[in-house]
């Protein structure tokens, strides 16, 4: 029976009944609307925030920070990771440091960042960069070390070496691993940025995290939940629109999957 229905039918039904149950539960008055707003209220807030431009402005501020921080982290991470793979003592020092720092949630950098940069854009960027950088360094290091030696031997006998070998063989061969490192770095950056925006009111821009925190201060849980949903959707979209297509194209074009 179930197997004859189109695949999205069951998930849609489940989601709708969950939302409906939630709506009904809140409206029945068994729980305070202030603590636990109904989905319709969250949607209402979403609509208002969208129309007033508040939501888009905040999303834009957050995305700008995220993309800038991520780009800096990735731009630094790729050469550093390559250096780690290439030079043994760099791997034994920077590589090990990266391993340690990667386990550190980058929100831990917030106090230092505020002290070093002040309550400014740079502080947020620093936290985002710290979230991205080490994941990228480690992924690049790993994937460069895992490039099949056969490729290198073949390229070398054809006269490739130095920069040519790096740009035409090692990096392309390592690309799938580098990309999944970037994806991980992106996820870390996203988390650290939210934490930074919630903890610190950055005067230079009002991002999604700040919007969520404002909701907390105004005791508007519809806003808090609405922002949570937006954060989730933006994260999903980044994956669906950007990373997943590149990744699957890369894998398909190399015959790693159908």
């Amino acid at each position: 029976m179930a197997s004859q229905l189109p695949r999205p039918v069951i998930p849609t039904l489940v989601a709708l009944s969950l939302l409906g149950g939630w709506e009904w539960y809140v409206r029945s008055g068994r729980v305070s609307e202030v603590l636990f707003p109904a989905p319709s209220h969250v949607l209402e807030w979403f609509w208002e925030a969208l129309l007033s431009g508040e939501l888009l402005a905040a999303t834009w501020v957050t995305m700008r920070r995220l993309i800038t921080g991520f780009a800096i982290g990735a731009a630094l991470g790729v050469p550093l990771g390559a250096l780690c793979a290439r030079v043994r003592w760099v791997r034994d020092t920077l590589g090990v440091l990266a391993l340690g720092l990667q386990t550190l949630p980058s929100v831990c950098w917030v106090p230092l960042a505020l002290l070093w940069f002040g309550i400014r854009e740079e502080a947020v960027l620093f936290v985002v960069v710290m979230g991205t950088l080490w994941a990228v360094v480690l992924a690049v290091q790993e994937s460069v070390l895992n490039v099949p030696p056969l490729y290198l031997r073949a390229a070398q006998t054809m006269g490739s070496n130095g920069w040519h070998l790096w740009s035409r063989v090692i990096l392309p061969a390592a690309l799938p691993g580098v990309l999944s490192g970037m994806k991980q770095g992106w996820a870390f950056a996203w988390r650290s940025l939210m934490a930074a925006e919630i903890f610190v009111v950055i005067v230079t821009g009002f991002g999604l995290g700040s919007l969520l925190n404002a909701g907390r201060e105004l005791l508007r849980m519809d806003q808090v939940m609405g922002v949570m949903a937006v954060v989730m959707i933006v994260g999903l979209l980044a994956d669906l629109i950007f990373f997943s297509p590149i990744e699957s194209w890369l894998r398909r074009s190399r015959g790693l999957e159908r």
Partner: protein, 262 residues
């Protein structure tokens, strides 16, 4: 033994003089090759055959410049071989095609490292060799879309296209099925006859060595040494099932392992 193959240096493409190669193994030093003296003549197809562990793959790495000798000297013409170079291209056991490039781009890879060619000349050359190996219609395909035999053909085209002085082949047919292998023996002999390339083929397959080589050099293991050199004076193209070829292969086999001789 082996001295009867010595030729004057003038006609030799590759000369090896007292070459010894040792590796650091888990249980001390291992001598992979000991005191190898050998000439590869210009335009000759030399097949090196021997059981596993006889150092024949090491020999090829030395010729390619991917490894260095401990003792002795290897020369290409009158230049010592010290590093990899375009004048000696290698075909490996696995095809080593780059999965991020299509067939044509793979063949162009080596050609693009030759600065003296124009892009149009490179394209022309790449297409010529792809046609030579019968894959002219597959230039846009990715390596993973091809069969193992086709991939090795692309690898052959890639090695031939930059027009190296010597082609080094490291058991390039061993991972292929018998039918594809025989087809490639035919292709390779045709190309060899047409282009008169100097080729060194390393293999553990005696029939293959006799089918392809102008001379067959038999290596003995532990440490790798030249045991005997056989001249193969059979007309080309040779067929694997040719009785004369089978007889010679049996002769090589019995030299390798007298107990196997009938």
């Amino acid at each position: 033994m082996g001295n009867r193959s010595e030729t004057s240096p003038a006609s030799a493409a590759l000369t090896l003089r007292n070459v010894t190669k040792r590796f650091d193994g888990a249980s001390g030093q291992v001598t992979a090759l000991e005191d190898i003296t050998l000439d590869v003549r210009e335009g000759e197809f030399l097949a090196v055959v021997g059981p596993s562990g006889c150092g024949k793959s090491t020999l090829l790495s030395l010729l390619a410049g991917l490894e260095h000798t401990n003792e002795g000297e290897i020369k290409l013409g009158d230049q010592p071989v010290e590093a990899p170079g375009r004048d000696r291209l290698v075909m490996f056991q696995q095809d080593a095609l780059f999965p991020w490039l299509n067939v044509l781009e793979n063949v162009l890879f080596g050609l693009r490292l030759k600065p003296d060619l124009t892009e149009a000349e490179r394209l022309e050359s790449a297409r010529y060799y792809l046609n030579l190996v019968g894959l002219g219609s597959k230039e846009k395909a990715r390596p993973h879309e091809l069969s193992g035999g086709m991939r090795q053909r692309v690898a052959l085209a890639r090695s031939l296209a930059p027009n190296p002085r010597v082609l080094l082949m490291d058991e390039p047919f061993s991972a292929l099925d018998a039918l594809t292998r025989e087809q490639l023996y035919g292709d390779l002999q045709e190309i060899f006859t047409k282009r008169k390339k100097t080729i060194v083929l390393v293999t553990h397959n005696i029939r293959e060595a006799v089918c392809l080589g102008d001379r067959v050099v038999l290596f003995s293991p532990n440490p790798g040494r030249v045991q005997q050199v056989f001249d193969v004076n059979l007309p080309r193209p040779r067929r694997l099932n040719d009785p004369a070829l089978a007889n010679l292969a049996a002769e090589v086999t019995s030299a390798l392992s007298p107990r196997l001789a009938r």
